[in-house]
Protein backbone atom coordinates (compact mmCIF):
# COMPACT_ATOMS: atom_id res chain seq x y z
CA UNK A 1 0.00 0.00 0.00
CA UNK A 2 1.22 3.44 -0.80
CA UNK A 3 -0.13 5.22 2.26
CA UNK A 4 -0.63 3.34 5.50
CA UNK A 5 -1.88 4.82 8.71
CA UNK A 6 -1.63 2.69 11.83
CA UNK A 7 -3.44 3.23 15.05
CA UNK A 8 -3.05 7.02 15.25
CA UNK A 9 -4.12 8.70 18.48
CA UNK A 10 -4.40 12.33 19.50
CA UNK A 11 -5.73 14.02 22.59
CA UNK A 12 -6.19 17.73 23.16
CA UNK A 13 -6.22 18.16 26.89
CA UNK A 14 -8.67 15.46 27.84
CA UNK A 15 -10.55 15.34 24.56
CA UNK A 16 -9.74 12.22 22.57
CA UNK A 17 -9.95 13.70 19.09
CA UNK A 18 -8.46 10.90 17.03
CA UNK A 19 -8.57 7.40 18.40
CA UNK A 20 -7.02 4.22 17.06
CA UNK A 21 -7.31 5.44 13.52
CA UNK A 22 -6.01 3.10 10.80
CA UNK A 23 -6.50 2.86 7.07
CA UNK A 24 -4.66 2.21 3.85
CA UNK A 25 -4.70 3.74 0.42
CA UNK A 26 -3.34 2.56 -2.90
CA UNK A 27 -1.13 4.68 -5.09
CA UNK A 28 -2.87 7.17 -7.37
CA UNK A 29 -6.18 6.71 -5.68
CA UNK A 30 -8.30 9.36 -4.06
CA UNK A 31 -10.01 8.69 -0.77
CA UNK A 32 -12.95 10.97 -0.07
CA UNK A 33 -13.60 11.57 3.58
CA UNK A 34 -16.88 12.65 5.08
CA UNK A 35 -17.62 13.25 8.73
CA UNK A 36 -19.37 15.43 11.17
CA UNK A 37 -17.95 18.83 11.98
CA UNK A 38 -15.42 18.56 14.81
CA UNK A 39 -14.98 14.81 14.43
CA UNK A 40 -11.24 15.10 13.89
CA UNK A 41 -10.76 15.17 10.12
CA UNK A 42 -8.45 18.15 10.08
CA UNK A 43 -6.46 16.80 12.98
CA UNK A 44 -6.00 13.53 11.11
CA UNK A 45 -4.72 15.26 7.97
CA UNK A 46 -2.37 17.39 10.02
CA UNK A 47 -0.94 14.31 11.65
CA UNK A 48 -0.44 12.59 8.33
CA UNK A 49 1.29 15.62 6.88
CA UNK A 50 3.44 16.07 9.98
CA UNK A 51 2.01 19.36 11.18
CA UNK A 52 0.63 17.89 14.36
CA UNK A 53 2.42 15.21 16.24
CA UNK A 54 0.38 12.13 17.08
CA UNK A 55 0.39 10.90 20.67
CA UNK A 56 0.96 7.43 19.26
CA UNK A 57 0.70 5.48 16.02
CA UNK A 58 2.58 5.44 12.74
CA UNK A 59 2.33 6.70 9.21
CA UNK A 60 4.00 4.86 6.33
CA UNK A 61 4.48 6.21 2.88
CA UNK A 62 5.50 3.81 0.16
CA UNK A 63 6.71 1.40 2.82
CA UNK A 64 8.83 3.92 4.72
CA UNK A 65 7.86 5.20 8.09
CA UNK A 66 7.41 8.96 8.00
CA UNK A 67 5.75 9.49 11.37
CA UNK A 68 8.60 11.60 12.70
CA UNK A 69 9.80 13.24 9.52
CA UNK A 70 9.51 16.96 9.06
CA UNK A 71 6.59 18.06 6.90
CA UNK A 72 8.89 19.23 4.14
CA UNK A 73 10.56 15.83 3.94
CA UNK A 74 7.36 13.92 3.25
CA UNK A 75 6.53 15.16 -0.20
CA UNK A 76 2.94 15.54 0.91
CA UNK A 77 1.09 18.78 0.58
CA UNK A 78 -1.56 19.71 3.08
CA UNK A 79 -4.14 22.15 1.83
CA UNK A 80 -5.47 24.17 4.75
CA UNK A 81 -9.18 24.31 5.39
CA UNK A 82 -9.06 28.09 5.77
CA UNK A 83 -7.55 29.83 2.80
CA UNK A 84 -4.19 30.70 4.24
CA UNK A 85 -2.67 32.93 1.61
CA UNK A 86 0.63 34.70 2.20
CA UNK A 87 -0.51 38.24 2.88
CA UNK A 88 2.72 39.78 1.64
CA UNK A 89 2.64 38.14 -1.78
CA UNK A 90 0.52 38.77 -4.84
CA UNK A 91 -1.79 36.10 -6.15
CA UNK A 92 0.77 35.22 -8.78
CA UNK A 93 3.48 34.77 -6.18
CA UNK A 94 1.17 32.82 -3.92
CA UNK A 95 0.50 30.31 -6.65
CA UNK A 96 4.14 30.28 -7.70
CA UNK A 97 5.35 29.78 -4.14
CA UNK A 98 6.07 26.07 -4.25
CA UNK A 99 7.70 26.35 -7.65
CA UNK A 100 9.98 29.13 -6.47
CA UNK A 101 11.07 26.88 -3.62
CA UNK A 102 12.24 24.42 -6.23
CA UNK A 103 14.31 27.11 -7.93
CA UNK A 104 12.69 26.52 -11.27
CA UNK A 105 13.54 29.25 -13.76
CA UNK A 106 11.27 32.26 -13.87
CA UNK A 107 10.06 31.79 -17.37
CA UNK A 108 8.89 28.27 -16.69
CA UNK A 109 7.22 29.41 -13.51
CA UNK A 110 5.42 32.16 -15.32
CA UNK A 111 4.12 29.75 -17.90
CA UNK A 112 2.96 27.21 -15.38
CA UNK A 113 1.31 29.78 -13.14
CA UNK A 114 -0.43 31.46 -16.04
CA UNK A 115 -1.77 28.17 -17.22
CA UNK A 116 -2.89 27.20 -13.75
CA UNK A 117 -4.51 30.60 -13.26
CA UNK A 118 -6.48 30.03 -16.43
CA UNK A 119 -7.73 26.71 -15.21
CA UNK A 120 -8.60 28.29 -11.88
CA UNK A 121 -10.37 31.14 -13.68
CA UNK A 122 -8.14 33.58 -11.92
CA UNK A 123 -6.12 34.96 -14.84
CA UNK A 124 -7.47 38.47 -14.20
CA UNK A 125 -6.61 38.42 -10.55
CA UNK A 126 -2.91 37.64 -10.60
CA UNK A 127 -1.69 41.08 -9.62
CA UNK A 128 -4.03 41.49 -6.66
CA UNK A 129 -3.08 41.00 -3.06
CA UNK A 130 -4.91 38.30 -1.14
CA UNK A 131 -7.21 40.65 0.78
CA UNK A 132 -8.59 41.91 -2.51
CA UNK A 133 -10.01 38.55 -3.50
CA UNK A 134 -13.41 37.02 -2.90
CA UNK A 135 -13.70 34.00 -0.64
CA UNK A 136 -14.01 31.54 -3.47
CA UNK A 137 -11.15 33.11 -5.35
CA UNK A 138 -8.92 32.79 -2.33
CA UNK A 139 -9.85 29.18 -1.98
CA UNK A 140 -8.93 28.51 -5.58
CA UNK A 141 -5.57 30.22 -5.14
CA UNK A 142 -4.92 28.02 -2.20
CA UNK A 143 -5.84 24.95 -4.22
CA UNK A 144 -3.77 26.00 -7.20
CA UNK A 145 -0.75 26.71 -5.00
CA UNK A 146 -0.90 23.17 -3.63
CA UNK A 147 -1.54 21.25 -6.78
CA UNK A 148 0.87 23.11 -9.04
CA UNK A 149 3.83 21.38 -7.42
CA UNK A 150 2.55 17.89 -8.25
CA UNK A 151 3.10 16.37 -4.83
CA UNK A 152 3.00 12.62 -4.54
CA UNK A 153 0.37 12.89 -1.83
CA UNK A 154 -2.14 15.69 -1.61
CA UNK A 155 -4.22 16.20 1.50
CA UNK A 156 -7.19 18.42 0.81
CA UNK A 157 -9.32 19.87 3.56
CA UNK A 158 -12.59 20.98 1.96
CA UNK A 159 -10.88 22.60 -0.99
CA UNK A 160 -14.05 23.69 -2.78
CA UNK A 161 -16.33 24.58 0.14
CA UNK A 162 -16.80 28.19 -0.93
CA UNK A 163 -17.43 27.62 -4.61
CA UNK A 164 -20.67 27.88 -6.51
CA UNK A 165 -21.75 24.66 -8.15
CA UNK A 166 -20.61 25.61 -11.65
CA UNK A 167 -17.15 26.65 -10.63
CA UNK A 168 -17.01 23.74 -8.28
CA UNK A 169 -17.68 21.31 -11.09
CA UNK A 170 -14.95 22.79 -13.21
CA UNK A 171 -12.54 22.62 -10.29
CA UNK A 172 -13.49 19.03 -9.67
CA UNK A 173 -12.67 18.03 -13.17
CA UNK A 174 -9.46 20.05 -13.03
CA UNK A 175 -8.56 18.07 -9.94
CA UNK A 176 -9.46 14.79 -11.58
CA UNK A 177 -7.34 15.56 -14.63
CA UNK A 178 -4.35 16.68 -12.68
CA UNK A 179 -4.35 13.75 -10.29
CA UNK A 180 -4.57 11.41 -13.21
CA UNK A 181 -1.92 13.21 -15.22
CA UNK A 182 0.54 13.55 -12.38
CA UNK A 183 -0.28 10.32 -10.59
CA UNK A 184 -1.22 12.03 -7.37
CA UNK A 185 -2.51 10.09 -4.40
CA UNK A 186 -4.92 12.10 -2.31
CA UNK A 187 -7.17 12.36 0.70
CA UNK A 188 -10.11 14.59 0.03
CA UNK A 189 -12.18 15.90 2.90
CA UNK A 190 -15.53 17.25 1.85
CA UNK A 191 -18.96 17.82 3.28
CA UNK A 192 -20.62 17.45 -0.07
CA UNK A 193 -21.92 13.95 -0.68
CA UNK A 194 -21.95 14.41 -4.40
CA UNK A 195 -18.40 15.61 -4.40
CA UNK A 196 -17.36 12.69 -2.20
CA UNK A 197 -18.89 10.27 -4.63
CA UNK A 198 -17.47 11.98 -7.70
CA UNK A 199 -13.95 12.55 -6.43
CA UNK A 200 -13.25 9.44 -4.44
CA UNK A 201 -12.08 6.10 -5.71
CA UNK A 202 -12.97 5.11 -2.21
CA UNK A 203 -15.07 6.81 0.39
CA UNK A 204 -14.38 7.02 4.09
CA UNK A 205 -16.60 8.15 6.88
CA UNK A 206 -15.14 9.54 10.06
CA UNK A 207 -16.85 9.24 13.40
CA UNK A 208 -15.69 9.46 17.00
CA UNK A 209 -12.10 9.93 15.95
CA UNK A 210 -12.20 6.86 13.79
CA UNK A 211 -12.24 6.41 10.04
CA UNK A 212 -14.30 3.74 8.33
CA UNK A 213 -13.37 3.20 4.69
CA UNK A 214 -16.06 1.54 2.62
CA UNK A 215 -15.07 -1.48 0.58
CA UNK A 216 -16.77 -0.06 -2.46
CA UNK A 217 -18.85 2.92 -3.42
CA UNK A 218 -21.81 0.64 -3.49
CA UNK A 219 -21.34 -0.18 0.17
CA UNK A 220 -21.30 3.50 0.87
CA UNK A 221 -24.47 4.15 -1.09
CA UNK A 222 -26.09 1.31 0.75
CA UNK A 223 -25.23 2.59 4.19
CA UNK A 224 -28.35 4.28 5.56
CA UNK A 225 -26.40 6.50 7.98
CA UNK A 226 -24.52 8.48 5.36
CA UNK A 227 -27.39 10.73 4.29
CA UNK A 228 -27.23 9.69 0.63
CA UNK A 229 -30.78 8.51 0.65
CA UNK A 230 -32.11 11.76 2.07
CA UNK A 231 -30.29 13.57 -0.65
CA UNK A 232 -31.74 11.40 -3.37
CA UNK A 233 -35.17 11.79 -1.88
CA UNK A 234 -34.86 15.52 -1.76
CA UNK A 235 -34.12 15.88 -5.42
CA UNK A 236 -36.67 13.31 -6.31
CA UNK A 237 -39.36 15.15 -4.39
CA UNK A 238 -38.28 18.34 -6.04
CA UNK A 239 -38.73 16.73 -9.39
CA UNK A 240 -42.22 15.64 -8.44
CA UNK A 241 -43.08 19.04 -6.99
CA UNK A 242 -41.77 20.85 -10.03
CA UNK A 243 -44.04 18.76 -12.18
CA UNK A 244 -43.88 17.91 -15.82
CA UNK A 245 -42.50 21.28 -16.86
CA UNK A 246 -39.33 20.71 -14.92
CA UNK A 247 -39.14 17.12 -16.09
CA UNK A 248 -39.04 18.33 -19.65
CA UNK A 249 -36.29 20.73 -18.88
CA UNK A 250 -34.30 18.03 -17.28
CA UNK A 251 -34.71 15.60 -20.07
CA UNK A 252 -33.77 18.07 -22.75
Amino acid sequence: MFLEVNNLNKKFNKEHVVEALSFELEKQKTLSILGKSGCGKTTMLKMISGLVNPDSGNVFLDGNEVTLLKPEQRNMVYLYQEDLLFPHLTIFENIAFGLRLKKINSKAIKDQVDQMAHSLELHNQLDKMPHQLSGGQRQRVSFGRAIIINPSVLLLDEPFGSLDSGTRQRMQSLFKNLTREYKITSLFITHDLKEAILMGDKIGFMQNGNLHVYESKQDFLNDPTTGVNQEINFWKSLQIEAGSELKNTINE
Partner: protein, 257 residues
Protein backbone atom coordinates in the same frame (compact mmCIF):
# COMPACT_ATOMS: atom_id res chain seq x y z
CA UNK B 1 -16.24 71.15 13.71
CA UNK B 2 -14.99 67.68 14.52
CA UNK B 3 -13.00 67.57 11.33
CA UNK B 4 -11.60 71.03 11.94
CA UNK B 5 -10.38 70.15 15.35
CA UNK B 6 -8.41 67.29 13.98
CA UNK B 7 -6.97 69.38 11.22
CA UNK B 8 -5.30 71.60 13.80
CA UNK B 9 -4.06 68.94 16.15
CA UNK B 10 -1.92 67.14 13.62
CA UNK B 11 0.19 70.09 12.46
CA UNK B 12 0.54 71.07 16.08
CA UNK B 13 1.87 67.64 16.95
CA UNK B 14 4.26 67.75 14.05
CA UNK B 15 5.59 71.09 15.25
CA UNK B 16 5.90 69.65 18.72
CA UNK B 17 8.05 66.84 17.40
CA UNK B 18 10.24 69.11 15.31
CA UNK B 19 10.68 71.72 18.01
CA UNK B 20 13.31 69.96 20.15
CA UNK B 21 15.47 69.27 17.12
CA UNK B 22 15.31 72.84 15.96
CA UNK B 23 15.75 74.25 19.42
CA UNK B 24 18.79 72.14 20.22
CA UNK B 25 20.41 73.06 16.94
CA UNK B 26 19.64 76.71 17.58
CA UNK B 27 21.04 76.52 21.10
CA UNK B 28 24.21 74.91 19.83
CA UNK B 29 24.75 77.89 17.56
CA UNK B 30 24.10 80.41 20.30
CA UNK B 31 26.18 82.21 22.86
CA UNK B 32 25.78 84.99 25.36
CA UNK B 33 22.12 84.23 25.93
CA UNK B 34 21.40 85.72 29.32
CA UNK B 35 18.18 85.78 31.22
CA UNK B 36 15.70 87.22 30.37
CA UNK B 37 16.69 87.61 26.72
CA UNK B 38 14.43 85.72 24.37
CA UNK B 39 17.11 85.62 21.72
CA UNK B 40 20.87 85.14 22.11
CA UNK B 41 23.34 87.95 21.62
CA UNK B 42 25.65 85.67 19.68
CA UNK B 43 24.65 83.36 16.88
CA UNK B 44 27.18 81.52 14.78
CA UNK B 45 29.56 78.64 14.53
CA UNK B 46 31.82 79.48 17.47
CA UNK B 47 30.78 76.56 19.68
CA UNK B 48 31.07 74.12 16.84
CA UNK B 49 34.52 75.37 15.94
CA UNK B 50 35.70 75.12 19.53
CA UNK B 51 34.47 71.57 20.02
CA UNK B 52 35.52 70.28 16.63
CA UNK B 53 39.05 71.53 17.19
CA UNK B 54 39.42 70.34 20.78
CA UNK B 55 37.83 66.98 20.18
CA UNK B 56 40.29 65.33 17.91
CA UNK B 57 39.32 61.86 16.85
CA UNK B 58 35.65 62.67 16.65
CA UNK B 59 35.46 60.99 13.28
CA UNK B 60 37.09 57.79 14.51
CA UNK B 61 34.71 57.78 17.45
CA UNK B 62 31.86 58.21 15.11
CA UNK B 63 32.90 55.32 12.92
CA UNK B 64 33.58 53.09 15.89
CA UNK B 65 30.22 53.90 17.43
CA UNK B 66 28.50 53.12 14.19
CA UNK B 67 30.31 49.80 14.00
CA UNK B 68 29.52 48.88 17.58
CA UNK B 69 25.88 49.86 17.29
CA UNK B 70 25.38 48.04 14.02
CA UNK B 71 26.94 44.92 15.46
CA UNK B 72 24.85 45.09 18.59
CA UNK B 73 21.65 45.82 16.70
CA UNK B 74 22.11 43.12 14.11
CA UNK B 75 23.17 40.44 16.53
CA UNK B 76 20.56 41.20 19.15
CA UNK B 77 17.71 41.66 16.69
CA UNK B 78 18.44 38.41 14.93
CA UNK B 79 19.23 36.35 17.99
CA UNK B 80 16.26 37.89 19.78
CA UNK B 81 14.03 36.92 16.89
CA UNK B 82 15.23 33.33 16.67
CA UNK B 83 15.49 32.64 20.34
CA UNK B 84 12.19 34.29 21.16
CA UNK B 85 10.61 31.81 18.80
CA UNK B 86 11.76 28.82 20.78
CA UNK B 87 10.96 30.59 24.03
CA UNK B 88 7.44 31.64 23.11
CA UNK B 89 6.49 28.35 21.49
CA UNK B 90 7.89 26.40 24.38
CA UNK B 91 5.48 24.51 26.64
CA UNK B 92 6.93 26.34 29.62
CA UNK B 93 6.81 29.73 28.03
CA UNK B 94 5.20 31.26 31.09
CA UNK B 95 8.26 30.62 33.19
CA UNK B 96 10.66 31.46 30.39
CA UNK B 97 8.87 34.71 29.76
CA UNK B 98 9.31 35.60 33.37
CA UNK B 99 13.00 34.83 33.25
CA UNK B 100 13.34 37.02 30.20
CA UNK B 101 12.32 39.99 32.29
CA UNK B 102 14.95 39.56 34.91
CA UNK B 103 17.73 41.51 33.19
CA UNK B 104 15.44 44.51 33.14
CA UNK B 105 15.08 44.54 36.83
CA UNK B 106 18.59 45.80 37.27
CA UNK B 107 19.07 49.15 35.59
CA UNK B 108 21.89 48.96 33.01
CA UNK B 109 24.28 51.02 35.13
CA UNK B 110 23.72 48.81 38.15
CA UNK B 111 23.89 45.72 35.97
CA UNK B 112 27.24 46.90 34.67
CA UNK B 113 28.57 47.60 38.13
CA UNK B 114 27.66 44.08 39.21
CA UNK B 115 28.95 42.48 36.01
CA UNK B 116 32.25 44.27 35.76
CA UNK B 117 33.94 41.70 37.97
CA UNK B 118 33.15 38.95 35.47
CA UNK B 119 34.11 41.06 32.51
CA UNK B 120 37.44 41.79 34.11
CA UNK B 121 37.98 38.10 34.71
CA UNK B 122 37.13 37.30 31.11
CA UNK B 123 39.42 39.96 29.71
CA UNK B 124 36.47 41.85 28.28
CA UNK B 125 37.35 45.09 29.96
CA UNK B 126 38.43 48.18 28.13
CA UNK B 127 38.01 46.77 24.63
CA UNK B 128 35.49 46.90 21.86
CA UNK B 129 34.57 43.24 22.17
CA UNK B 130 33.70 43.77 25.81
CA UNK B 131 31.58 46.80 25.04
CA UNK B 132 29.71 44.99 22.30
CA UNK B 133 29.16 42.02 24.59
CA UNK B 134 27.91 44.20 27.43
CA UNK B 135 25.59 46.19 25.22
CA UNK B 136 24.37 42.97 23.70
CA UNK B 137 23.52 41.66 27.15
CA UNK B 138 21.06 44.49 27.68
CA UNK B 139 19.68 44.73 24.18
CA UNK B 140 19.23 41.01 23.68
CA UNK B 141 16.53 40.61 26.35
CA UNK B 142 14.87 43.67 24.92
CA UNK B 143 14.74 42.11 21.49
CA UNK B 144 13.66 38.80 22.93
CA UNK B 145 10.63 40.29 24.63
CA UNK B 146 9.98 42.63 21.76
CA UNK B 147 9.22 39.69 19.49
CA UNK B 148 7.08 37.82 21.98
CA UNK B 149 3.90 39.24 20.50
CA UNK B 150 4.82 38.11 17.03
CA UNK B 151 4.58 34.38 17.58
CA UNK B 152 1.09 33.01 17.43
CA UNK B 153 -1.08 30.33 15.89
CA UNK B 154 -1.47 32.07 12.59
CA UNK B 155 2.26 32.54 12.13
CA UNK B 156 2.70 28.91 13.00
CA UNK B 157 0.19 27.99 10.32
CA UNK B 158 2.01 30.04 7.72
CA UNK B 159 5.22 28.37 8.67
CA UNK B 160 3.64 24.94 8.45
CA UNK B 161 2.20 25.85 5.13
CA UNK B 162 5.67 26.51 3.75
CA UNK B 163 6.85 23.17 5.09
CA UNK B 164 4.01 21.28 3.55
CA UNK B 165 4.68 23.01 0.25
CA UNK B 166 8.18 21.59 0.48
CA UNK B 167 10.06 24.57 1.90
CA UNK B 168 12.93 23.99 4.30
CA UNK B 169 13.88 26.03 7.36
CA UNK B 170 15.60 28.70 5.31
CA UNK B 171 12.54 29.07 3.13
CA UNK B 172 10.35 29.39 6.18
CA UNK B 173 12.44 32.26 7.43
CA UNK B 174 13.28 34.04 4.24
CA UNK B 175 10.08 33.58 2.32
CA UNK B 176 7.56 34.05 5.08
CA UNK B 177 8.71 34.83 8.61
CA UNK B 178 11.06 37.67 7.74
CA UNK B 179 8.64 39.31 5.32
CA UNK B 180 5.81 39.05 7.83
CA UNK B 181 7.95 40.34 10.66
CA UNK B 182 9.65 43.01 8.61
CA UNK B 183 7.99 45.91 10.37
CA UNK B 184 8.80 44.54 13.78
CA UNK B 185 12.32 43.61 12.77
CA UNK B 186 12.99 47.13 11.63
CA UNK B 187 11.59 48.72 14.76
CA UNK B 188 13.57 46.33 16.89
CA UNK B 189 16.72 46.94 14.89
CA UNK B 190 16.27 50.65 15.26
CA UNK B 191 15.56 50.39 18.97
CA UNK B 192 18.52 48.15 19.71
CA UNK B 193 20.68 50.36 17.53
CA UNK B 194 19.62 53.28 19.67
CA UNK B 195 20.07 51.41 22.94
CA UNK B 196 23.64 50.83 21.86
CA UNK B 197 24.22 54.24 20.34
CA UNK B 198 23.04 56.03 23.46
CA UNK B 199 24.43 53.69 26.05
CA UNK B 200 26.65 55.61 28.41
CA UNK B 201 26.83 54.22 31.95
CA UNK B 202 27.46 50.63 30.97
CA UNK B 203 29.86 51.53 28.18
CA UNK B 204 31.89 53.81 30.38
CA UNK B 205 32.25 51.10 33.01
CA UNK B 206 33.04 48.19 30.70
CA UNK B 207 34.94 50.31 28.20
CA UNK B 208 36.79 52.04 31.07
CA UNK B 209 36.45 55.25 29.12
CA UNK B 210 38.94 53.74 26.69
CA UNK B 211 36.42 52.64 24.14
CA UNK B 212 35.56 56.17 23.17
CA UNK B 213 32.22 55.88 21.47
CA UNK B 214 30.76 59.12 20.27
CA UNK B 215 28.38 58.98 23.20
CA UNK B 216 31.20 58.67 25.68
CA UNK B 217 32.99 61.52 23.97
CA UNK B 218 30.18 63.98 24.02
CA UNK B 219 28.05 62.95 26.99
CA UNK B 220 30.40 64.72 29.34
CA UNK B 221 29.46 68.03 27.80
CA UNK B 222 25.77 67.48 28.25
CA UNK B 223 26.31 67.06 31.93
CA UNK B 224 28.59 70.05 32.20
CA UNK B 225 27.58 73.59 32.95
CA UNK B 226 27.92 74.96 29.45
CA UNK B 227 24.58 74.26 27.87
CA UNK B 228 25.63 75.57 24.50
CA UNK B 229 28.14 72.75 24.31
CA UNK B 230 25.51 70.50 25.80
CA UNK B 231 23.12 71.30 22.97
CA UNK B 232 25.89 70.76 20.47
CA UNK B 233 26.59 67.37 21.96
CA UNK B 234 22.93 66.50 21.74
CA UNK B 235 23.05 67.37 18.06
CA UNK B 236 26.03 65.10 17.51
CA UNK B 237 24.16 62.26 19.17
CA UNK B 238 20.74 62.79 17.71
CA UNK B 239 21.29 63.70 14.14
CA UNK B 240 23.11 60.58 12.96
CA UNK B 241 20.16 58.33 13.88
CA UNK B 242 17.78 60.84 12.35
CA UNK B 243 19.75 60.80 9.13
CA UNK B 244 19.81 57.02 9.26
CA UNK B 245 16.07 57.09 9.65
CA UNK B 246 15.64 59.53 6.82
CA UNK B 247 17.82 57.57 4.44
CA UNK B 248 15.95 54.40 5.23
CA UNK B 249 12.59 56.00 5.27
CA UNK B 250 11.34 54.42 2.11
CA UNK B 251 12.45 51.06 3.28
CA UNK B 252 11.37 51.39 6.89
CA UNK B 253 7.95 52.82 6.35
CA UNK B 254 6.73 50.66 3.57
CA UNK B 255 5.97 47.77 5.79
CA UNK B 256 4.94 49.39 8.98
CA UNK B 257 1.89 51.43 8.20
Amino acid sequence: MYKNWRAYVLPFLVLLVLFPFTYLLFLSLSGAWYYPDVLPKYFGLRNWRTILSSETGLLQSFLMSTGISLAVAIVSTLSGFFISKTVYYHPHKRILNLLAYLPYILAPVVFAACLSYFFLKLGLFGNVTGVITAQFLISFPYALIFFSSFWNERIKNYENLVSTLGGNTLDRYFKVLFPLAKGLLLVCFFQTYLISWFEYGLTSIIGVGKVQTITIKVFMFIKEANYFYGALSCCLLIFPPVVLLYINKKYVFKKIA
